[in-house]
Symmetry: C2
Subunit: 322 residues, 2 copies
């Protein structure tokens, strides 16, 4: 590790202050979690890697926030309340103390925002790129976890917020939307860099949605996961997919990006299925609102089609906007 | 990933069969764990990296066993019963399907041995070396987790099994013990490559030991962690540290390795502290036996000394055997 900082020095100075009571001051090599009686635990683990999921010169606090939030988004998709996390850091020699300090500040800020604590983890040296691994732990009342596999034929498909902002935010970050108004570009970049896990929405949806997933890999891919796990296919009306005003401004600059909206990923919205009889419930959701975009049908398993039954997939986005 | 195997193909073919009921067939991106009523959860996370913790051409099944067992050893040191684990795999392009198949077989074998199940995880591509991250989850009856910080001045220090086999097994693996009988070399290599987490012993120790840790970083370092967390120092009589017959045979070949026994690490035995009034309990422990090697004293915090009060540490091993 850079700057002569050994593992104990690093843990003591920057990570121990993040540990909650269960983390035992990070003086133990295992952590304690007292489950809330009457609850199931929900666990998820995502890794992110420099050069794949973030860039070497991205601000460390932003990387910390993204690492935490992509995992919290998985918990949101299950309707779970987040409680704590464990952290694995593989760090090359080029990482210095300032990087670690900024990374820890980013974690501290988000611990406040989301009411969670660090339980423990591992730091190790690597010859390769930075690898960050996070295990997030949440809770739901026994038996109420929202799953991917609960959709039924005839269920409607709805999505929260707006889709495509993540992909367009990455384009803006890469300087690929030069004609866009600076305010719109900044808004899209923030959508890409600082996901907003839909935790409050997920906790409400848990009571009546039949299946749910977060939109991390792309709307078609994530809806396809619901379809596969439910033994159904999904019919998506691409013209109904909700876009932000900023996304529409970006598409006015580069119309060809419209094709990538439903496959782009990194939106961290929720895609759910619901019984038609629960349609009225959508009207009370406003933070963010839910929009009906399709329905679940029996037939082939794990396929997403357009409203005419044409398969959408890696190539299917060509239909979008046409 | 090599051989054109995408993430879903990999998960479906090799990892989904390892998932228990809580893993939901790995069709969800979060897992469910129902805590046993009246229990606390114990969580630990260790990462291992190619070129640092194992070699690129080590057998994948052996790497899987080591990854799992180093984490289970952390649970053993807490007196916890292991239940489940989450797995993160960052894999470079050179990893092929045969590697993954052998790795999964290694996990499957150890799931049987230890009665645990895969809950979920993440696989991702990397430009760097293989990085493996594992979060292990165990349980203890509420309030009974064995900690590092519970030692009291006057407590005795004991260690399970024999110390130094891990370090000597690595030497044997590297071909650095050429004069040693093949049977002894094979036994030491196995001690290095296949740690035996002391789970049954840890579960018994939880009832009366005052503090515990596993010997992963080296006896002096791990006892030092107990001392630091307990606000004490530890006095170690190096002449009492138990050695295996195979270790003694290795030291007959290379006597200078004796100096590295108490710092070598990778033994995955347990080092504990106990009240002198509990000394009689040691006599019934035989699997493996416990040996008294020192005592806890007030004074400087986090220091390990020899029986004359001379600090042992990175340089302190010079006293060993002299």
């Amino acid at each position: 590790m850079g700057a002569g900082l050994d593992e104990f020095g690093l843990i003591a100075r920057y990570l121990a202050p993040l540990a909650g009571p269960g983390g035992l001051g990070l003086l133990d090599d295992a952590a304690l979690l007292q489950p809330t009686p009457g609850n199931d635990l929900v666990l998820t683990k995502d890794m992110i890697i420099a050069g794949v999921h973030f860039l070497d010169d991205d601000p460390p606090g932003m990387i910390a926030a993204k690492l935490l939030r992509v995992n919290l988004s998985d918990l949101a998709a299950k309707g779970a309340r987040p409680r704590a996390y464990l952290l694995g850091l593989a760090l090359p020699a080029g990482i210095d103390e300032a990087w670690i300090a900024a990374f820890a500040r980013g974690l501290a800020d988000d611990q406040q925002t989301f009411g969670i604590e660090l339980l423990g983890g591992d730091t190790t040296a690597t010859q390769g790129p930075v690898v960050l691994s996070l295990t997030a732990i949440g809770e739901v009342p026994v038996g109420t976890m929202l799953r991917r596999g609960g959709a039924r034929a005839g269920d409607l498909v709805a999505v929260s917020g707006t889709i495509g902002d993540g992909m367009l935010g990455l384009e803006a970050s890469l300087g690929q939307l030069p004609g866009l108004a600076p305010g719109d570009a900044a808004w899209l970049r923030d959508r890409y860099l600082r996901p907003q896990p839909r935790l409050a929405l997920g906790a409400r949806l848990r009571r009546w949605a039949t299946a749910g997933a977060d939109v991390s890999d792309g709307l078609i891919a994530d809806l396809g996961n619901i379809a596969r796990a439910s033994g159904l296919s999904a019919e998506l009306d691409l013209s109904l997919v909700p876009l932000s005003p900023q996304a529409m401004a970006a598409l006015a600059v580069r119309p060809e990006l419209a094709a990538r909206i439903p496959t782009g990923g990194d939106d961290y919205e929720l895609v759910i299925t619901l019984a038609p009889s629960d349609l009225v419930r959508l009207q009370v959701e406003s933070d963010p609102p839910l929009t009906i975009i399709g329905k679940m049908v029996s037939g082939k398993t794990g396929i997403v089609t357009d409203e005419k039954g044409q398969p959408l997939g890696p190539g299917g986005y060509r239909h979008f906007g046409s």
